[in-house]
């Protein structure tokens, strides 16, 4: 099953089993969403629950806040994650704050899905990875599923959570074919805030999320043939961040490499590194830490330029070898 179909399955399950759930977003009805994720849902559940909206990102996010605090479970979509920039007030000033600001008297159980990332030739305004912005904000939760299984499971967990959750889905993952254990209940099949070890290793820890997990695993394969054993940690959730799993891994391997498609500066990688060196895991480090991230430029259009901007398998492999002086 494709990653996109796994999201679709979770959405259908939620619509079927919980009448408080509705979807809203641009072209998510008959069109099926810009990436086909909501294909067929309007036919099954009707226009009242699968709502095409005007091109009004601020209203989309804000209506989710208003609906959530009055008893609904909205799941709204930013057609491209870049467009969330038009919706910052309802997310950052409203959704994130209301529970705290109103003295705990209200919950904001809403989910925003955000297709993001580069590699599609869509250039600077349709290719960003903005997840770190939101992971910075107390009151928000942020997840970035790397697998088709997690695309379903983390979405279900996000909807089950009483807080606003942003789900960043990398556009290039949508077509990935993987076997998925399909859920039949909307109960959260996994906790929010738990990282998993995708591959065990002994020489270094590679921490990744979203599309970089696959690239990290491929790099680990190549490193194996060079006699290097890499452990790959998939963060899955960026806030809350499961730093304990990373620290435990670093204690075993003694080396840390963090990789994400977003630029390095003030990013998730910096937070991971800080979280490791704030603990006794620092004492286990045998080498400086490394970050393999997107170049600090807007995403270019031309294929060769775009590829050079996004971290590739060989970049991870090379950085890992440098950590081991291999």
């Amino acid at each position: 099953m494709r990653y996109a179909q796994s999201v679709n399955h979770a959405l259908a399950l939620l619509l079927e089993q919980d009448e408080r759930v509705f979807l809203a977003g641009e072209d998510i009805g008959v069109y099926g969403g810009a990436f086909g994720v909501t294909d067929g849902l309007v036919d099954r559940f009707g226009e009242a629950r699968v709502r095409d909206t005007p091109i009004s990102e601020e209203a989309i996010a804000g209506l989710a806040v208003g609906a959530a605090i009055t008893g609904m479970l909205p799941i709204v979509e930013m057609q491209f994650s870049d467009f969330v920039v038009n919706a910052m007030d309802p997310i950052v000033n409203q959704a994130a704050k209301l529970h705290f600001m109103y003295g705990g008297n209200v919950e904001v159980p809403m989910v925003i899905r955000l297709p993001g990332g580069g590699g599609t030739g869509a250039a600077a305004q349709h290719s960003q990875s903005l997840e770190a912005w939101f992971a910075h904000i107390p009151g928000l939760k942020v997840v970035a599923p790397a697998t088709a299984q997690d695309a379903q499971d983390l979405l279900l967990a996000a909807v089950a959570d009483p807080n606003p959750v942003l789900v960043f889905e990398h556009k290039l993952l949508y077509k990935n074919e993987e076997s998925v254990e399909l859920r039949t209940s909307t109960a959260a099949p996994t906790a929010l805030g738990e990282a998993v070890i995708r591959r065990a290793g002994t020489d270094l820890t590679i921490v990744a999320y979203s599309i970089m997990v696959g690239k990290a695993l491929e790099a680990a394969e190549r490193l194996e043939s060079s006699g290097i054993s890499a452990e790959v940690v998939d963060l899955r959730s960026l806030r809350p961040l499961d730093i304990e799993t990373v620290r435990a891994s670093v204690r075993r391997t003694g080396r840390l490499l963090v990789t994400h498609e977003a630029p390095a500066a003030v990013g998730i990688g910096a937070e991971v590194v800080a979280g490791v060196v704030e603990s006794d895991a620092l004492d286990y480090l045998l080498a400086p830490v490394a970050r393999v991230c997107g170049k600090p430029i807007p995403m270019p259009y031309a294929k060769a330029l775009e590829r050079a901007t996004i971290p590739q398998v060989e970049d991870v492999e090379l950085a890992a070898k440098e950590l081991l002086n291999a």
């Binding site: 005007p54 601020e58 209203a59 208003g66 009055t70 007030d89 529970h99 600001m101 003295g103």
Partner: protein
Amino acid sequence: MLEIRYFEEALEELFSRGLLHGTMHLSIGQEAVAEGVCAALDDGDYITSTHRGHGHTLAHGADPTAMMAELMMKDTGYCRGRGGSMHIADVANGNLGANGIVAGSMTIATGAALTQQMQGTGKVVACFFGDGAANEGAFHESLNLAAVWDLPVLFICENNQYGMSMSQDRSTAGGSVAARSAAYGMPGTRVDGNDVEAVYEATHEAIVATRRGDGPALIECVTYRYRGHSKSDRNLYRTQDEIEDWRTHRDPIERFAGKLVAERGVAQSNIDAARETARSKIRDAVQAAVKAPDADPADLTGAAYA
């Protein structure tokens, strides 16, 4: 209206005595908008409010003691000291909260109205916003979306004629917020916001239509704020004569009280008694709030999440 006036005046006094923190936005002079609109709402109807929201909150039936406690940084305040003047909410009773972001509540009100429509509750949402908010993008997105979906929301523009120091003349193309309703194909009316009965009538009429399923409406209530925008305001952008003119000739409380006596046969003694009742209610609220326990920093860990 009296409770709102005395509540705000009590805050001024407490502020001058150093018992409050930060700043506040007083609605003295604008009481008829809050009261006229909220009087037209039924139990179970919702409001969203603004940074200048004490009046809306009181008019919607909030407990003045819990409000006062919030402003006085007490654990018994509506927000346990975490929100303060700009963020008082009473969600359980349909007040979805004041909002520190201009136009910030407009998309929220739209979403709350969607809930009413989807759940078929028959309830409406009254969304207060200022004249300044009418120039935010959220105004357009909210009115458009509410109109295309026929949502049960009333957009109440509390036009006090200044967005902080920026007069409506200088900020608002076309000169009228109500006129913008035509662009969304929704009814729009402009009323004297210092005439509590006019505000009530306009709101009531709009609510009947909205509850019937006719979709949203826009009501612009023209009023005036006597005090500065906030405590830092030196009133450099308007004249003392202008302020005095409104206070002397168009005060919403004096106008209504005068009308009750002159045209409705209400005895002056009854008006005086109402004033005293309101005064003592606010006095009691202050006294109870003073005695309440302070907000406790020990409870903050993890408080950002439900």
